[in-house]
Symmetry: C2
Subunit: 179 residues, 2 copies
Amino acid sequence: MAIKYAILGFLSWQALSGYDLKKLFEQAYFLYWSGNNNQIYTTLVQLHKDGAVTTEIDHQTSGPSRKIYTITDEGRQQLREWLLAGPELPQLRQPFFLQLMWADTLSPVELDELCAAYEHEMAIQLLMCQEKARRNELDPARSDRERLLWQLIAERWIGFYTEEVAWVQRLRAELAGKE
Amino acid sequence: MAIKYAILGFLSWQALSGYDLKKLFEQAYFLYWSGNNNQIYTTLVQLHKDGAVTTEIDHQTSGPSRKIYTITDEGRQQLREWLLAGPELPQLRQPFFLQLMWADTLSPVELDELCAAYEHEMAIQLLMCQEKARRNELDPARSDRERLLWQLIAERWIGFYTEEVAWVQRLRAELAGKE
DNA sequence: GTTGCCATGTAAGGTGTTACATGATTTA
DNA sequence: TAAATCATGTAACACCTTACATGGCAAC
């Protein structure tokens, strides 16, 4: 359950409510959980049961009550053990490649349209990444080292989309050249 | 259900048994389904129910009987419609980045060990990709265009791991420089 | 007064993974 | 005769997504 560590990570930065976490997950392009992810609430209950977080209710004067979650030493320890257990491997799923593999029934025009649409989508993702990295809304920046890590993660993400765009452009050029 | 189209794709190339498909899925690094994926069998039953494939039993003289699946016109049509519906978007999950984001509790040595282990894993993946691309075991090659598509997909996969290795090397160098 | 945001949850479904089960044949 | 490979399947689980439900408060 990777989301467990994502939550513990954010809570290791500061105490947050489930709703706060949902907003952070939506904002952060480098996290892959989709918008409106209510798995967060059930995972928080689980973390509480496991003693990794404590919770207290914030009775706001304006607006509904919020449950604020705070990480415990036990939670910090679990996060640390996850890091020491070794690196997680990337899971890159490229169903578009599967489409290309079996796209030989398409006409040259249809195939180029498919690739052009993909190029367009990747260009949009790239712009969104760059814009979010530029605004730099989310950055705990507790140390130079942490700042560097976050910086490089953002760059890698931008790099991925940059290369994806360049690759599909090359693909389209080579397909056009073959006709 | 992306695996449905992966299966239809392979069957659009040639008639295969469930076991053949399992072997192909294990071989193909560009497919993300894990080894020993028995989802294949249930999906084949579903595809048969939907009329996308037909099946006949091959009573082998040596070895157990095999169920050979053949794609139908209906199946080919479904595959084509999937292609025409537009490109699927990549789903890149990088839990390692999540680890780095919250790795500030690690000592410089622990952090470098984590990154070194990641670099090593990515280097292995890269070598495996390159070796499989070199051997080129799986290649329908029904046309020049199809050959080009497969070639470029292999290159993009190699490119991803190449960049991942280069990125983590840069990360380690910058971290070492900060100490 | 109704739209929209804050805030928390439940339930169902899709998809992929892992473990288990079975039995035949080939090879060492 | 033991191990490996061929071949098909079931069951349980993990994880993520989607839809639904509820209710308060603010703004227009």
